[in-house]
């Protein structure tokens, strides 16, 4: 009998644990502090209508590429803040670079009847399915940072860094860093349309301004630190005389810097990055990264929400809105107030 009771207790352990979990979750489902309460009639002592009251409250659903990269975290936070100013509840989810997961998130947004959806596509073509579903449900879709390449579905506006012009700035920085000659490598992430624009601009400037530079290697670093580290090690192994590496984003650059330091080639291999994360700015100040065009994820986030607000007010919104980058080198880093404080 004792055994039976114990087994019963064990069987009930999971439901109990699950309930605990949801107690924790209930706290999280509240709207961010300071957001305005829904204007609709009060539901009295009803369930946590806070975050879930989709129809009563104006909600924007966001699915970013990944939250591993601080870029998207900053962008998402800026969207939340800007949304709050305009009376929107902004839900930020992460597609985790998985097109199917992102499609599921969009379907969840549709079920919730959000007012608008913002996507950073995990796959520029496969995202078409999700956008079409939102189109059918009458929910406007905006893309931020990464564009959709699907032609059958409709996006109201694409708000992104001017990656092509940024790539050109990176190319210019590389010409400066290497003196216009020598071997150069790219640590790439060719799946992303935004990265394709960057490398295009980069290569064009090199071809036009520095015929002495030879691009010897173009490897995929998956836009992550660990894969880029391995790619950089291989580049350094194969090309002992490499003069510079263009890394398509900051995590890639951190991987490359680590590989260069491990090989003891600091200062001899110039790293050009692309992003402008705080850690990278410090690395620019310390001379580990020569320079990089910096993006403004906060501006992208703000502009996206502002575009949604404009669209909802019945104003015309440009289908393509580009945010320019600026080149950040040691000269800028030495004057940067963000770095002096720390």
């Amino acid at each position: 009998m004792l055994t039976r009771t114990r087994a019963f207790a064990h069987t009930m352990a999971l439901p109990a644990m699950a309930l605990t979990l949801f107690a924790l979750q209930g706290c999280n489902s509240n709207p961010p502090p300071g957001s305005t309460p829904p204007p609709g009639p009060s539901t009295g002592a009803a369930p946590p209508t806070g975050g879930s009251g989709a129809a009563a409250k104006k909600t924007i659903g966001v699915s970013v590429l990944t939250l591993e990269n601080p870029f998207f975290k900053i962008m998402g936070d800026a969207m939340k803040a800007e949304g709050e100013k305009n009376g929107f509840d902004v839900i930020v989810t992460s597609g985790d670079k998985d097109a199917a997961k992102q499609k599921d998130q969009v379907n969840d947004f549709i079920v919730k009847k959000v007012s608008a959806i913002v996507l950073c596509p995990c796959d520029s073509r496969a995202v078409g399915a999700a956008i079409s579903a939102a189109n059918t449900a009458g929910i406007p879709v905006f893309t931020a940072d990464i564009a959709s390449l699907d032609t059958a579905s409709k996006v109201v506006s694409h708000i992104a860094t001017d990656n092509y012009a940024g790539g050109k700035l990176a190319g210019k920085a590389m010409v400066d860093a290497t003196g216009g000659k020598g071997k150069v490598a790219i640590i790439d992430f060719p799946e992303a349309e935004s990265v394709q624009q960057r490398t295009k601009g980069f290569k064009e400037v090199l071809a036009a301004q520095a015929p002495g530079i030879q691009i010897v290697s173009d490897l995929d670093g998956r836009a992550t630190r660990d894969d880029a580290y391995k790619a950089a090690q291989d580049i350094l192994q194969k090309n002992p005389d490499i003069a510079g590496i263009f890394c398509i984003n900051d995590p890639t650059a951190f991987g490359a810097v680590a590989a260069i330091e491990k090989a003891g080639r600091q200062g001899k291999v110039k790293v050009i990055s692309f992003d402008g994360q705080l850690e990278a700015k410090k690395a620019v100040k310390d001379g580990k990264i020569y320079g990089e065009p910096i993006q403004y994820p906060d501006q992208i986030g703000q502009k996206t929400i502002q575009s949604i607000v404009k669209y909802m007010a019945g104003e015309k919104v440009d289908p393509l809105q580009l945010i320019p980058t600026t080149l950040y080198t040691k000269a800028e880093a030495d004057k940067d107030p963000d770095l002096v404080k720390k």
Partner: protein, 462 residues
């Protein structure tokens, strides 16, 4: 655990013999039910109807004095809102309302149309619209900026209360989201029942999706016929079955541990997918290819879900009613005893890895169909969700114990948690923590149950 009578006991998988086992089996269904109840409660809120019911409710709420009012019906262009606009217009016409017009479109279109209308016909007294359009700020801005709207009333259908989670649309959504993982979990259940594991299924999704898309593009592109698409899909599924066969041969003939053999095939399949796709996604396929992934031909159930339910039924019958199905349990329970009692264990093992490969291949075809494109990035880390579904569903990682519908329940538990957390706005980072803890809790429960049920059976037959 290692004596022969024990094997025969474990060859009776469908009949739980004592209370703890019974509770453990249906305990999982209880967890699913609790989760459902919780999310039903958490997503219960004001819901404003649209479509025809919304139009009727809104019509009933109008007063008789509105009959001479200048009314504009505003809606978006999707099917539900169009239904709202047309039904409401018809109702108003029948009801003797004299001045009714309608505008449909996105906010800029509506704004333009409303402004033109007031210029031509004068002020608007009443705008009847849907809850979605009411969220636009168009009307508020018109009210302040355009004298033609200064005294306009804006009405939407009166609200009722409902749960987003429990809505038919969302329940379809949940089953649609889990179909791929649940189908692959059928094969994985068989593999895990034999005491093995298949880590290659995630990569096989990518390989199958890419192969299907690539073959369709090669055999006809966007103009490919239905038969071509079926042939391409079957070829891709078969290719994944062959990969499973290869893993099986490595495991049975060369005694490579399943973990290592399938880990290697995971790399091979992923690399092959990238090679075939040349690192890009392939979407030069006909739009009709979405039939399997997005169509809904039977009682508005998505086709992928119908297929999933059919496969589960077939797998259940196979596992409980056929000798080959029972062999899988026997091999997992005690391979040596199974071999001694005349079961061809190697053949059984080969079979389960082929089935796992085929299921993953089918999962890949469905994914490609849902997204109308094939990409080598699909399916990353899916093997973990699949294994979690199986284990949460009560199948023991040691082998020999488990049942197929448990896996379906396990898959649904994971889907409901993911969907529910999205609906209740749980942050992505916290979602990962919660999901991980639930999986851990399930395995812990399995472990506790095993020790207590062993104690139970020891008591019963000393």
């Amino acid at each position: 655990m290692s004596d022969v009578p024990n094997v025969t006991k474990e060859m009776e998988p469908s009949r739980p013999s004592n209370l703890p086992a019974l509770l453990a089996r249906y305990g999982m269904a209880g967890v699913l039910l609790l989760l459902g109840l919780f999310f039903t409660w958490a997503t219960y809120h004001e819901e404003k109807p649209t479509g025809r019911p919304g139009a009727e409710a809104l019509f009933r709420s109008l007063s008789a004095t509105d009959q001479q009012a200048h009314i504009v019906v505003v809606a978006q262009q999707d099917a539900e809102e169009t239904e709202f606009a047309t039904s409401l217009q018809a109702l108003l016409k029948e009801g003797g309302y004299a001045h009714v017009s309608a505008v449909q479109g996105d906010p800029p279109t509506v704004r333009q149309a409303l402004e033109q209308r007031t210029q031509a016909e004068g002020a608007v007294d009443l705008i009847l619209t849907t809850p979605a359009c009411r969220q636009w700020t168009v009307f508020d801005s018109l009210k302040t900026n355009n004298p033609g709207f200064a005294h306009t009333r804006i009405e939407i259908p009166p609200s009722g209360k409902t749960s987003v989670f429990l809505s038919a649309g969302n329940l379809r959504n949940v089953s649609d989201q889990i179909a791929v993982i649940a189908i692959i979990a059928i094969g994985m259940t068989m593999v895990i029942l034999t005491g093995g594991i298949d880590l290659s299924v995630g990569s096989l999704i990518a390989l199958s999706a890419v192969l299907t898309a690539w073959l369709i593009r090669a055999w006809g592109g966007t103009g490919a016929s239905g038969a071509t698409m079926v042939a391409a899909s079957l070829t891709a599924i078969l290719a994944c079955g062959l990969v499973g066969l290869f893993s099986g041969i490595m495991i049975t003939q060369f005694k490579i541990p399943p973990f290592i053999a399938t880990l290697a095939m995971m790399q091979v399949a992923s690399g092959a997918a990238y090679i075939v796709a040349q690192g890009q996604s392939i979407n030069a396929i006909p739009p009709s290819f979405i039939w399997l992934g997005r169509g809904a031909n039977l009682a508005s159930l998505p086709n992928a879900v119908v297929l999933m339910l059919f496969l589960y039924l077939a797998a259940h019958l196979f596992m409980t009613r056929t000798t080959s199905g029972r062999y899988i349990y026997a091999v997992g329970g005690n391979p040596e005893a199974a071999r001694l009692s005349g079961i061809r264990t190697k053949r059984t093992l080969l079979f389960v890895y082929v089935v796992s490969g085929l299921c993953a291949g089918l999962g890949g075809v469905i994914t490609a169909s849902q997204l109308n494109a094939g990409s080598p990035t699909y399916g990353q880390a899916y093997e973990l969700y699949v294994i979690a579904s199986v284990v949460v569903g009560g199948t023991s990682l040691v082998g020999g114990e488990g049942f197929i519908f448990g896996t379906l329940i396990g898959a649904f538990i994971i889907a409901v948690i993911r969907n529910g957390m999205n609906l209740t706005n749980v942050e992505p980072y916290k979602q990962k923590v919660a999901l991980g803890l639930v999986i851990l809790g399930a395995v812990l429960l399995d472990q506790l149950r095993r020790t207590s049920s062993q104690r139970w059976s020891r008591r019963k037959d000393p």
